[in-house]
Structures are given as C-alpha cells and as structure tokens.
Symmetry: C2
Subunit: 140 residues, 2 copies
DNA sequence: TTTTTTATGTAATAATATAACATACAATAT
DNA sequence: ATATTGTATGTTATATTATTACATAAAAAA
C-alpha cells in the first residue's frame, strides 16, 4: 500500500492534478479496512467538503482507478486501495464470505496461464480480474 | 450449451419447478448472442408474459444462476447461459472489448493454481470468477 | 493576457436491484 | 377429497449504483 506522501510525489512527477476531492477520496478509500462503496465514500466525503454530489465521488474514484491506485471489486460494487504498486494488467482478490475482508493477491502464475490458454484460442488478453470467494484464515 | 429439452429433463429429475417465467427467461438468455442485461431480459419477457415487473425477471435469473445454467458477467452487469455443464465452482470468461462477445473458457489449470497459492495463505477458496478482457480473433 | 484544456458544482435522471406483502399454485399429509 | 404447508408469482414501492448535461472555475499553454 502506498503512503499518501508517495502518491503525492508520483502525481507531481506525472503532472496529475491532485485536487481536494481526489485527495480526500483517496484517503477515505485507503483508510477503509474493507472495500468501500461509492455512496459510503460520498457520505464520508461530506465531512471534508461541502455537500458533495455523486459525480464528485465517482470522478475521483475513476481518477484513482485509471492510475491503478484503486481497484473496483466487481462482485461487491466496492472500491479498495491497490496493495501491489500502481500498475498491473491483472488483479486477483481473495474475498472472505464471512468477514468481508479482501486480500489483493498477486498470483504471478496467472499471466503465463492466460497466455498459454488464450493463444491457442487466438484471444488476446489485455487485462483481467479474478475474484475468489472463500474463507480467510480468521474465519475458517 | 444445453438444449431446452435437456434442461427440462434435468429440472424434472431434480424436482425443480419449471414455471413459465423461468422457462421464458432461460430461452431469452440462451438465445442471446452476447450477455444480456436484466432490463433487456425484462423487455423481451414482455413479449411472452403480460406486463412483467423487475422481480419476475430477477427471480428467474437467480433461479438459473443458482442451478448454474446461467452466469452473471460481473463487469458487464449481464447474464449469459453456461456453456460448460451446469455445475462448476469457478468460471472464466474471455470478454472482447470490441464486439462484446464473451467466451466461457474452462482453464482447468486455474483450480490447482488457486489451491497452491491460497493454501500457504490459509485462505480457503470456494468459488471464483475470472473475467479477462481483450480482443477476440474476429476483432484483433 | 488570451486561449485552451481540465476539473468541479449542481440538478436531473438513468440503470440496476431488492423489500414487502398479498395472492396463487403445487406438494404433502390427513 | 380436503386441509395444510411450502414455494412461486404479482404488484407496488423503493433502494442502490452510476451517468448525463451543462454551467462555472481553475490550471496550463500559447
Ligand atoms: Zn493492485
Ligand atoms: Zn474472514
Ligand atoms: Zn459455466
Ligand atoms: Zn470481438
């Protein structure tokens, strides 16, 4: 997981505009223990900026998604900070059905498997998302 | 992909009630070339039964999902008929970014990889969903 | 400074999904 | 056959998730 400082630095280096709603949304997602939903982000955002509306939250989320600091957990409609550096073509998540914890796990074998299994089908993989449901060690 | 006859048979064998909305929804999903969205299913359903409401569609979709004849493509909010037999713990989908085609692909290696990579993390995987975006052979 | 690009504020609405409760139907037991 | 029970549907309303559209503001570039 990135510290705020590092992220600020990376944004400066890349000339990405780090505005107030963006920064606050990143903080909210980063500080959330489990994946957080857009409207919960919006609620928390109301503590920081005046009367924010959905587009404000969604735009900021999209910004961080685009730069790979935040992932969307599709099966949960929720967002979580990236824990593996800010750029990778594929992501794997271990989702605990009991406590809701989501562990981002880089299974490095996946990419090769994808290549092998898709080349012969002549499908060209560009990115992927693997969501694995089960029970975490706390809960099983 | 299952023929309607086979599905009717399987339902009888298992004493699953095959009602009109269920059968029509299955037909709509099965006959759709690409994954189809709930409200598009609902629209088509209106040609078959009188003035159906969202719960009618969603309940039928859920029924088929539960019995693994239909999958939800999470990143598309859309539903597609299973093409690999009516029960498996994990599913893999190749999604063409260009034409929208979704190929259900059973990469048999995945389960072992999951086991290997999650045992040492003591996460117990129960089911998984892998969505791979890219370009199909028609489009690349 | 002017122009252009990018981001935000705001209102409205679209798209996706479920809750709640009444009614109908099917399966089972008497 | 009839009563009882469980399951499915019909219907209204509402919750949840996300985007469109357009005006304003701020930053970057010319
Ligand atoms: Zn990540
Ligand atoms: Zn857990
Ligand atoms: Zn399948
Ligand atoms: Zn294609």
């Amino acid at each position: 997981m990135f510290k705020e400082e590092q992220i600020i630095k990376i944004c400066k280096q890349n000339k990405w505009r780090l505005t107030e709603p963006r920064l606050e949304v990143l903080r909210i997602i980063s500080h959330s223990k489990n994946p957080i939903k857009a409207y919960d982000i919006l609620k928390k955002l109301a503590n920081k900026i005046k009367n924010p509306k959905p587009p404000t939250a969604y735009r900021a989320i999209q910004f961080w998604q685009k730069h790979n600091f935040v992932h969307r957990i599709e099966s949960l409609n929720a967002y979580q900070a990236c824990s593996h550096g800010h750029s990778h073509a594929g992501a794997q998540f271990l989702i605990c059905d009991d406590c809701g914890k989501v562990i981002e796990s880089n299974l490095h074998e996946i990419p090769e498997i994808l290549k092998k299994n898709t080349e012969n089908k002549t499908f060209k993989p560009l990115r992927w998302n693997l969501e694995i449901n089960g029970l975490c060690n706390q809960c099983s």
